[in-house]
Symmetry: C2
Subunit: 204 residues, 2 copies
DNA sequence: AGACTTATCTACCACTCGATACAAAAGTTG
DNA sequence: CAACTTTTGTATCGAGTGGTAGATAAGTCT
């Protein structure tokens, strides 16, 4: 079998550049001109490798998920439900303000609402966000079986709460909020989580 | 002084239609064709009335803020800081899943990231989101002076937390989450707020 | 009525969008 | 080297983008 002309660019490196463009400008806001320039390739190479603009986004999302999976493994390996929540929000505060990336979260910045012809992009992103929530929920269900969470705790509600706060932190970070602001949100959020030490003082 | 031909459309009604388009498709995703069709006017009328696509968005945002201001007045009139927080998150859960509007929040859906030529849109939206946070913060500062919040409470942190949860709920709603899901997030979030009745059971 | 002012409509502008046809180039294999 | 396969660059496609020029219509004021 003959091999043909070899690809002259590294697909993963190109995906990293594409990811950044989608992250910073959203799906609709990321033009082919921006993408090809950032990736250092011409349009036909892009289409040969990824099929379409949407295919490129999906490939970038896969790579994004892959990058995050190790962090998420660490998060879920926390010794208790509360530790998992702490690790989760803390890692979100760091990653969403990592100067190596655009601020916020690709799964939020990428496009909550899109124009004609891109209607399925928001679904794609939502489904990937839901995956994190599912991982947290299953971890909390496990925690409940382990007796680590009380019987009246609601794993699904807690997971959804954390996932929602994470999305909110993405919005906050994209507005230019600094790392300390996100850490503070994480701290306050954690006091909604079972197992925290109640702060002193009578209130209300 | 002569008056000239009167406008044949109601600017506020047209703005409501434009608002919905921006809400559902975002700034970049909302094309002039969509907007003029929804508003029932032709492009020159739109430009005569609002100056540009960006001017139209700003007018729609003004109207959005105006609509919300009455709700916000009710929220801020809560008898205690905690009541304010309850009213705030509760009203967010309802409004973000109001079937009369697109799901989520215009200030989030409108565009966290935009393409070339729309770079200031995200700033515009962020500044309007920040306004709500400021209103909450000032209300909580007042609550602290009234002795309604303890000395160790941090009004800025609480306001930012609530604002962040609200943004997260916007993302959640835009993913298709129903009203009960948002109410649940509101309920969990409130347990992070000073003055709640701690749930029973030892944890961790 | 007639002058004046403003809005509306049709048609169109230059430009960008995502995507592709085609030929030249760069490899591998026999 | 020659046959073959795939990638690359140039040049371009039709459709859609935000925005506008110019003529006409619809009012108000004298």
């Amino acid at each position: 079998m003959v091999m043909g002309r070899p690809r002259s660019f590294d697909a993963d490196m190109a995906l990293d550049e594409a990811m950044e463009v989608f992250w910073r400008h959203g799906y609709d806001g990321a033009s082919l001109a921006m993408l090809t320039k950032a990736m250092g390739i011409k349009a036909p190479s892009l289409y040969a490798a990824f099929g379409s603009k949407e295919g490129l986004l999906k490939a970038a999302l896969d790579r994004y998920a892959q990058r995050r999976s190790e962090h998420m493994r660490y998060v879920l390996a926390g010794p208790s439900a509360r530790a998992v929540a702490e690790r989760f929000l803390s890692s979100i505060a760091e990653s969403h303000t990592d100067p190596a990336n655009p601020p916020g979260c690709l799964l939020v910045q990428g496009g909550l609402a899109c124009g004609a012809g891109s209607e399925n992009i928001p679904f794609e992103l939502a489904s990937r966000r839901a995956q994190t929530e599912t991982e947290l929920r299953e971890r909390f269900i496990q925690a409940k079986q382990d007796g680590d969470l009380t019987d009246d705790a609601d794993p699904a509600a807690l997971a959804r709460f954390l996932s929602t706060v994470a999305s909110g932190m993405g919005v906050l970070a994209s507005s230019g909020a600094n790392r300390d602001a996100l850490r503070e949100v994480a701290r306050v959020s954690l006091s909604a989580f079972p197992g925290h030490r109640e702060r002193g003082g009578a209130m209300l």
